[in-house]
Amino acid sequence: MAASAAIAVFSSPRIGAYPTFIGYGYTSCQVCHFNSFGNGPLTDYGRAVGASTIAATGPLAGIDGDEGLALASGFLGRKELPVWLRPAVAVRGLYLVSGLEGDAPRKRFIPMQIDASLTIQSPNRKHWASMTLGYLPDRETGIKANSSKERQPLISREHYLSTELREGTRLMLGMMDIPFGIRIPDHTAYSRSQTQLAMNDQAHLAIVHQYGESYELGLSAIAGNLFQDADLRQSGAALFAEYDLLEKVRIGHSNLYTRNKYRSRLMNAVHARVGAGEGSSVLVEVGSVAQKTQIPTTNLRSYLLFENMIRFARGFHVMIVGEYATQDTFRSAPRSLRLGPAIQWFPMNRVEIRSDFQVTRVFNAPTVEEDVMDFLLQAHLWF
C-alpha cells in the first residue's frame, strides 16, 4: 500500500478532497474518497495527498520528506495491508462554548464522530464494498450510550457497493449520503440543516455517477432510509451536476424531489467553487427547499452559504464563513445570518484542529436582540 500510495500521489490522473481544496487544484472528490461524492473513508491516494500536500510535515517527517509521509499514510503506517483490505477509523470531538454574549456561557464537550470503516476492494481497485459504523454516545454524558430501547448506540453511516461499469461510469448501491450541493463537513451549516442532509440523514439509494474531463453527474434513485417505518421514508430522485467553467472554477446545480405519506420536498441549489492561487478558495451555494405537508400550505425555505478558505502556510488555513437562511422566503419570517472566522489547521498527518467563532444575527424578528456568539474547537483524528 505504501508504494502504491506514493505512486498515486505523483502519478494519479484524478484527485479529490474537502470541497475547499479546489484551491489546490483538486476538483473532484472521487479519488480521495471511496464515496464518489465525498465523505467517508479515504482512498490510498487521499491518505497520501493529505499527508504530503495538505497537512504540515509535523515532527514525523523524517528524512524522506513528502514521499516518506505519503508512504507512511496507510492505516498501519508503512506496513502494507493486502490491497483488498482498507480499514479506517475517524474520531471527531467538539468543545463548544455557547452563549458568549451573556453572563453565563455554557461549556460542553460533544463527541461528534466515532466511526470505524471497512472497505473491501478488488485488486484492480475498480470495485469495492464499504461500510462505516458510527458509535453514538449519550449526548449528556458523552461516554456511554443511552439505555433507551429506541436508541441504537451503533448505526451504519453508510454501507454500499460501488462498481465501475465502464470508464467514466460508476454505479453505487446502498445506504449513503444523497449527493446534493457542496458537501461541506459542517453538518450544522444552514446548507445542510435546511436541506435535512446532515450527518445522520443517509438514505438507501442507487447512484449512477458519470464523469469526464470537465464534468460530473450523479443521478440518484432514492428509496429512503429503510431502517425507518415505511410511511416515514422519503423516497424520490436527485440530480447533482458539476462542470469546469475555467481552471479551478467549478459550477454546479442540484435538484431533489422526495416524498412520504406526510410531506413532499422539492429542493434546488446552484453552487460555485473557485480556487485561487495555491490552496485558497471560495465556495458559494444558494438553495431553496419547498416543503408541502398535509396542511394545505407550501413553505419555501432558502439558504446561502459563502465560505472562503485562505491558505497561509502548509497545513494552516484561515476560513471565513457566512451563512444566511430563512424559514419562509416569501412571508414575513425571521432571517438568520451566521458568520465568523475560523482556523483549520493540519499540524501533521491524521490530525485536524478547527476553531470557529460564530456570530448569529436574526433579522425580522419581533425584537432586536444581542447577537448570539459561540466558540467551537474541534479535534479530528483519522487512521
Binding site: F10, S11, S12, P13, R14, I15, Y24, G25, Y26, T27, T53, G65, D66, E67, E213, E247, K248, V274, G275, A276, G277, E278, G279, S280, S281, V282, F306, N308, I310, R311, F312, A313, V318, I320, G322, L337, L339, G340, P341, V359, R361, F363, N364, A365, P366, T367, V368, E369, E370, D371
Partner: protein
C-alpha cells in the same frame, strides 16, 4: 589554529543562514513549478530532479496529468541552464528558479527589484453591523436599544503595492436599512418595561473614508490586513411620541476591521470582520472588487 577553526565555524553558520534564506524564498514562490516531459508526469518542486545544463523543456501538459495543471509554469517554454562547474541548474519560468541537488529551490523575480505599483479598485460590498441608539423619555429617563443594519457599500480605493504589502485609502457610500425593536438593553427604570418601540426597513445612508494596510506574507494573491473606516451615516428614527427623542440621528464613527482578500486575476474576494464603534458591535462585510 583556534582562529582558523572559528573562521570555519562562522563560515559554516553563514552558509547555513544562506541556505535558510533559500528555503524561505522557495516558499514564497507559487509559480515556480516544473514537470518532466520524459517521465510524462508532473513533479512538485520538492521532488524535482536536476536537469542537464542547457536542456530545453517544453511546458506542455503530459497526457493524463490534467489534475496537476496548477503545478505547471504558465510560460510556454522553460530553459534549463547553469554553471557546469557548480553542477547547478536554473529554470526560467515565471521567475528564475535554481534547482540544486539537495532539493533546495531559490526563486527570484525577473524584475531587478520589487517596484511600488499603484492600483485602483472598484469594490461592491454587502455589510451588516450592530449599534445602539438612545431613547430619551419625557421624564428624563433614557434607554439604549439595539439596532442592526444591513446594506450595500460601493467603494473606490487607491493603493500602493509592493510584492508583500499594500497600503491605501478608499471612499465609499453606504445605503441600507435598519431595524430596531423593543429591546431595552439598558433600561434604567421599571417604568420602561412595557415600553414598545419597534421599527424596521428604516432607510439609512451615509459615506465613509477608510485607510487600510495589507500584508501578503506567503502568496501574492492572498492578503490579510487591517482597515479603519470613518463613517458618517444618517437615519430618521421614528419618535415614540411627543417630547421623546432618539439619538443619534447623525453618527460619525470609526470601525476596526480585519480584512482578508483572495485574488484571482482582476477579481478579488474581500471579507472584513470587526467592530463598529466599539467592542461587541460586530460588523461583517462581504465584497467583490475589480482592479483596473
Amino acid at each position: 589554529m583556534v582562529l582558523k577553526k572559528l573562521f570555519v565555524l562562522v563560515l559554516a553558520l553563514l552558509s547555513t543562514f544562506a541556505r535558510a534564506q533559500v528555503l524561505v524564498q522557495s516558499v514564497q514562490n507559487p509559480d515556480c513549478q516544473i514537470f518532466s516531459v520524459d517521465r510524462k508526469q508532473s513533479l512538485i518542486v520538492k521532488t524535482t530532479r536536476r536537469f542537464p545544463v542547457g536542456t530545453q523543456l517544453e511546458t506542455r501538459r503530459a497526457a493524463g496529468t490534467r489534475i496537476f495543471k496548477t503545478f505547471f509554469p504558465k510560460t510556454s517554454q522553460a530553459v534549463v541552464f547553469g554553471d557546469p562547474q557548480e553542477k547547478s541548474a536554473f529554470l526560467i519560468g515565471n521567475g528564475v528558479c535554481l534547482f540544486s541537488a539537495n532539493r533546495h529551490v531559490e526563486t527570484k523575480s525577473l524584475a531587478p527589484s520589487a517596484p511600488v505599483v499603484t492600483q485602483k479598485n472598484l469594490t461592491f460590498s454587502l455589510q451588516t453591523f450592530k449599534t445602539r441608539v438612545t431613547v430619551h423619555f419625557p421624564n428624563g429617563e433614557t434607554a439604549a436599544l439595539n439596532v442592526q443594519l444591513i446594506g450595500a457599500l460601493p467603494e473606490f480605493s487607491y493603493s500602493w503595492r509592493t510584492s508583500h504589502s499594500e497600503w491605501g485609502f478608499g471612499v465609499g457610500a453606504f445605503m441600507g436599512t435598519a431595524e430596531i425593536g423593543r429591546s431595552l438593553a439598558e433600561q434604567k427604570s421599571g417604568d420602561l418595561v412595557g415600553f414598545d418601540y419597534q421599527a424596521n426597513n428604516l432607510k439609512i445612508f451615509g459615506g465613509e473614508v477608510s485607510l487600510f494596510y495589507l500584508l501578503r506574507p506567503v502568496y501574492k494573491n492572498v492578503a490579510l490586513g487591517v482597515k479603519m473606516p470613518l463613517r458618517w451615516q444618517k437615519t430618521s428614527w421614528p419618535l415614540p411620541g411627543e417630547d421623546y427623542s432618539v439619538t443619534p440621528q447623525n453618527d460619525l464613527s470609526l470601525s476596526y476591521l480585519l480584512e482578508a482578500r483572495v485574488e484571482r486575476d482582476s477579481i478579488t474576494w474581500i471579507q472584513s470582520f470587526g467592530f463598529y464603534k466599539k467592542w461587541g458591535n460586530i460588523l461583517w462585510s462581504l465584497g467583490a472588487s475589480y482592479r483596473f
